[in-house]
Symmetry: C2
């Protein structure tokens, strides 16, 4: 049992995991938490692929390295070169969250794009990360991949979109707190 605000404030992005397997029951609690997220017209536009197979993890790792190098070239952001993604090979469980553009609600008629289903998947992922944290596990919302390549690796049909990979495992060490700008700096009262 963990207080909601404690979970929200205490959740960290974890990039180093122990190899200990994550019990299926834990994964199921995390998945159930995901399904309680709100979505446009309750479309529930998410699917989950739970990856524990080492060969699939290796493919995800290889794609992340390729994507990192490509992004480094495009961006010139030098820190990217040092950003290690080795943990993708050792994370016990990676849950791929796949979005279905059909579940996007009235948004589908809007000129500025149909991202309602993606936002709902974002809410579902946040539930997953909070649930994992409350259960004593570290998590990471990983997006450093090309969506087409990830579709191939995971066998996802073309009309659906891999939104993010959620890594789950017992943290190796304690991930540090990342500072936030205060809400005051971000808020205007109208």
């Amino acid at each position: 049992m963990m207080d909601l605000f404690e979970a929200i404030r205490g959740r960290r992005s974890c990039r180093a995991y122990l190899k200990d397997a994550v019990e299926r029951e834990v994964v199921e609690k995390i998945l159930e938490a995901a399904t309680w997220a709100p979505s446009p017209l309750n479309s529930q536009p998410w699917e989950f692929l739970v990856v524990t197979d080492q060969s699939v993890k290796e493919k995800i790792y290889t794609e992340a390295v390729r994507c990192k190098e490509w992004a480094l070239e495009k961006s010139g952001w030098k820190w990217l070169g040092k950003y290690g993604v080795d943990f993708l090979k050792t994370t016990p469980v990676i849950i791929a969250v796949i979005g279905d553009p059909k579940g996007t609600g009235v948004d589908m008629f809007m000129e500025e794009g149909s991202t309602g289903y993606q936002l709902a998947c974002g809410a579902a992922i946040q539930n997953m990360l909070l649930a994992g944290h409350a259960l004593g596990f570290g998590g990471l919302w990983f997006t450093l991949f090309d969506k087409k390549a990830m579709r191939k690796i995971l066998g996802v049909e073309e009309k659906k979109l891999p939104i993010g990979l959620v890594c789950i495992g017992k943290p190796l060490g304690a991930p540090g707190a990342i500072p936030r700008k205060s809400f005051q700096e971000k808020t205007t009262w109208v």
Copy 2:
């Protein structure tokens, strides 16, 4: 104090509010919860406009009605005609969440679009809804508006995107539970 899983499972979309004002302290706790969401490279690509001014609420309402009629015509979804949005005029507080496309991380170089900042805002909104629920308030993630029109109403600069409106207030009656498909139906183990 509310258990995380209780908050996740118990949160409802609330479409009828009492007129009671929401204390500033409550709004601040909800905003603070939002800022703890994860974001690409910790870009924190969100801003909040807290709307309590009645004339602004009326404009939001008028835009929602316009958008509803337009969407009804486009979609032919008859239920939309009956979907009332009057609560926008009586909700004590509406928090507009504005996303900054600059805070989208490596995603900005990706071919399939740069929605990382929107997903982060989705996670922040989920934190807000959970926080509101834990504090005894009803909430709604409202998106039935045209983004250009909402920019004008709220005075948002063109390069930023109104992602969603979060309504907050004491619920009038108890919003019903909406069924979910089980995670088993949504999950493949790889």
